[in-house]
Amino acid sequence: MKRIRLHRLSSQLLSTTPARSPPSSTRICRAAQISRLQAPLCCQRRWQTTSSEAVLEDPDNMEEIPILPPEEDRITPLPSPPPERALYSAKLAALHARLSLSSKIPLQTLARTLIDPSADADPRFNNANLAFVGASILQYHTSEFLITRYPRLPMAILFSAMKGYSGVPALHQIARAWGVEAAAAPGEEVDPGLLQFSQDKPTVMMSKWGYVRAESKEIQKYKWRRGLSSAVVYDNAFGEMVSEQRQQKTEEREGTPPEVSAARNTKDLVVDNPVGNAHANFVRAVVGAIYLHCGRDAAKTFVKSHVLSRTLDLSNMFEFKTPARELVRLCGREDFDPPVARLLSETGRLSRTPVFVVGIYSGRDLLGEGAASSLNDARVAAAINALKAWYLYSPVDTAVPSDTFMEDAAPYKPAYVDIGEIIS
């Protein structure tokens, strides 16, 4: 009983504070002012001293009692907790410490990164803008990391690897690993250290580069084939097609939308993975907040230590259709001797479980070897291994272009990037 009453108390009090400021100032700016921060505390103290006996007498009709002055009767609760309460949340402080964030990043900003657009549609209070900045930084660092580290990756693998490092599933995992929990439902009275989103409200999807194709509806409806080179031009950073409705929402968000209008977003009201999308937006928003408060280098270090340090096995992403033919094409293109399969070793040829080890040679050089239980399979496995060894080449010096942003950095030496994948 006592606990419930306290919750009611705080929610009623805080709703009477001027929640939505004029659009000139953002919530972060207001939170920085100390006098405003003191206001709710004073209110609370006074309230407790003056009208505590009323609560003790009859806690059930507490809502009917006009505790506060009648001109502030905007009792409609805020969609998300006000930033002033961020200073009193143990969860937020713990998260700030756990991520070893700089003290330049205020707790109010960290609280704002936890508010998804589906919880609070007002772009001055949700994390959409921070997440937009963070997504661009994340994808920039991921792509430069991948291209300088593996300059020969085929485009399809590169898209998958981008998704594996900075896509929604990976960022969801990162947010889970940071110990961020989702609130049962967003609301004003919720602890600001919980991730606030709602499953059935329109939200914003962050991966928004690329163009809408003229034939995007037909592609969705009839499953038209779309080539990989058009995916490079048109699609987003993960090779996923940008559809019409998403683009509308982009325009809406990049303009000055007061609210996410329901009429426009009924089409894709719910994104396909609202939980993952909210968690991913939170991680992106943290990166964006670090960029805004601590600068470019701190954001790069953060991305490197939390996102790019994760292990992604690129060698298991490949799937070849005609590996032997592709290897012949590769050797022809690079002016190597044509590949020849040679039997390196074998055992149990006449038994039920034979093992053959076949190596693919070009001239005298062993390109790859594979073992299987039949000669043909071993040859295919060896060709696949040779192709993987080609594609997964990694140079010694993996300096990325953003290294030159630092002070007293050496002038950038152009990285080796291969001419492209083998087309058989």
Binding site: E319, R364, A371, A389
Partner: protein, 219 residues
């Protein structure tokens, strides 16, 4: 213990004639082979047989105590090579590893100079690939197409391959049968597949799965 080696030949000589009264020489040999012989009959013998000395690479090379204490033993188990290890030939010209590996560099330049005949001396045996013949001319291809289009029943793929002395795959690359013939053939194949029992269909399915796994490099 002592009596067993003496008894065994005796037992053998007794059992051979009793089990084979016809007493042909071959039959006697078979029965002798059928008599179970105990090879490693006790734990201690098995243990003694399996006691193999460690590989010499595990022992320090020199007897000096101060050198053995600083020695690093590197003896990894045999395993499939990593695909992250780029072969020398795949290194781009700008890579510093190419210049560092002088032995490879000199060897591959010597390879370029030498003829292909001297190459295959020390290499492992080549796997036999199917014979590639390039014997079909342009006119023959035209004729082949004409024959296939005129009477696909008579001029089947195998028949055409036999006629022109090429692989059936090459015929499939060149010609395309009329649509009705293709439909007929497909229907015939479907009828054959429909007669397959559970075991054969499952085996085909599994073969397909194995091929997919192989192409993903997971087999």
């Amino acid at each position: 213990m002592e009596t067993r080696p003496l008894l065994q030949p005796l037992l053998r000589s007794i059992s051979a004639p009793t089990s084979t009264p016809t007493s042909t020489r071959a039959a006697a040999a078979v029965t002798v082979a059928c008599i179970p012989r105990r090879h490693q009959s006790s734990t201690s013998r098995t243990k003694r047989a399996l006691k193999v000395a460690p590989h010499p690479s595990f022992f320090p090379t020199s007897a000096g105590s101060e050198s053995s204490s600083t020695q690093v033993i590197y003896n990894p188990p045999s395993s499939a090579p990593s695909v992250y290890h780029t072969p020398f030939k795949f290194l781009p010209p700008s890579d510093p590893r190419r210049k560092a590996n002088l032995a490879q560099l000199l060897r591959s330049s010597a390879d370029l100079a030498s003829s292909s005949a001297s190459k295959s001396s020390s290499l492992p045996p080549e796997l036999k690939d199917r014979e590639r013949k390039y014997n079909v001319t342009q006119e023959q291809v035209e004729e082949m197409r004409m024959l296939r289009a005129s009477d696909p029943e008579r001029w089947s793929v195998l028949r055409l391959a036999e006629k022109y002395g090429c692989a059936p795959y090459f015929i499939l690359m060149c010609c395309r049968a009329p649509t009705d013939h293709r439909d007929r053939e497909r229907a015939r194949l479907e009828a054959v597949k429909a007669r397959w029992g559970a075991i054969r269909s499952a085996a085909r399915e599994e073969r397909k799965k194995r091929r997919d796994l192989l192409h993903k490099g997971m087999l």
